[in-house]
Assembly symmetry: C2
Homo-oligomer: 224 residues x 2
């Protein structure tokens, strides 16, 4: 388990959750491996309580499985679940961007344009970490401007299945496409073209349909 520093404000539970998610996404905790509440808590210098609460939360979205009196494991990759997460995002974000075309204010659009400009900047500067953050922020902004923050939060929790797959496929080469997708979506919003924006969003998210067989042969044993 790879650890980073604990933020000053965050609670033990939040810290444990952040560490676990990070390590699961980046395969430092490999699919199928056992998780011991005791081990984890001593590694993170916490007691079992906050660690346990984090594990419960992760089990709610099926990324961790808890077997009472037996143990907990990092879930094997279940392609059904990955596709389910992608479907959920596609459907919800499609509807949200369509709605955004109706309700976006000048300020909202300015914010989106600013975000896209920053993406271009960091693409040149090769900061893929920053790019990922901006990508997430872009999508979150759409939910915020349509007053759908709670939905974003719920949807985000299941997205981890999908983030894990994404980190397995070597390259984030699609960064360039990502940015031009975002640009096109903003343009559709400006033009108040709801149907167009929805289609663009669905196409954008369909890029994440990563080839299962390729990954399965590269990482045998990680899949259910």
């Amino acid at each position: 388990m790879r650890l980073t520093e604990r933020y000053s404000k965050e609670t033990g539970r939040e810290y444990a959750l952040r560490m676990l998610k990070d390590n699961i996404i980046h395969l430092d905790l490999i699919p199928g491996s056992m998780l011991s509440e005791n081990e984890l808590s001593s590694e993170m210098h916490l007691s079992r309580t906050p660690v346990r609460e984090a594990l419960i939360e992760l089990s709610k979205v099926g990324i961790v499985e808890i077997y009472p009196q037996k143990g907990s494991v990092v879930s094997l990759i279940d392609y059904k679940l990955v596709e389910e997460a992608r479907f959920m995002r596609s459907v919800l974000e499609g509807a949200v961007v369509e709605l955004a075309c109706k309700v976006a204010t000048e300020e909202d659009i300015t914010g989106l344009l600013e975000n896209v400009k920053l993406q271009e900047f960091y693409l040149e500067n090769r900061s893929s970490q920053k790019l990922l953050e901006l990508d997430d922020e872009f999508h979150q902004m759409l939910f915020h401007m349509t007053s759908k923050d709670q939905i974003y939060q719920l949807m985000d929790s299941i997205t981890i299945h999908f983030d894990r797959i994404r980190s397995m496929s070597l390259e984030a080469v699609k960064d360039l496409k990502t940015i031009s997708d975002h640009q096109a979506i903003v343009e559709a919003i400006i033009a108040k073209d709801g149907d167009g924006a929805k289609m663009l969003m669905e196409k954008h998210l369909s890029r994440y349909k990563i080839d299962e067989e390729a990954l399965r042969s590269r990482y045998p044993g990680y899949f259910k």
Copy 2:
């Protein structure tokens, strides 16, 4: 707090969660009221741990708010959140029923028809409890037959905002309409009419747009 018996198999946490949800939906825990982990745990004959875990889960969907070192409260009714929950259901169920038109098997359709028949039966017998269960089951079946169980589970967690409002509007007079809606949806699925099924589902769920002002004047102080 109104309590019912604890099932033999369920854990303390599950029991606490079930009790809390029931009491929030049926307004035995009124919006805005304080929740003390200590009080709740002694009422339910549990320790703070499982009760606390249940409260954390409820806070994730905004039906309970936890203020560290100060206390927890049952959230006031926020119509934005209610509408958000309705929107989420409408969008997801619309997409799912459209998909169901493509993939439903004979068995799936038989199951749906059987459910509708039972609804008719219990409508005559005036068992509104059983009707609600069948209603929930109907919707869940659509998610199951399209392999979207995880999405149903997540969506269901936010539906509580919506269930609370529904229990406030006096009558479940719309039972008859509910059943005919369900019948129409099943017919559309049989006819493999995806667009029609989607529209019917959205219309069906729009019935839950309960008049805010009427409730607000009847229950002043329950709203944000």
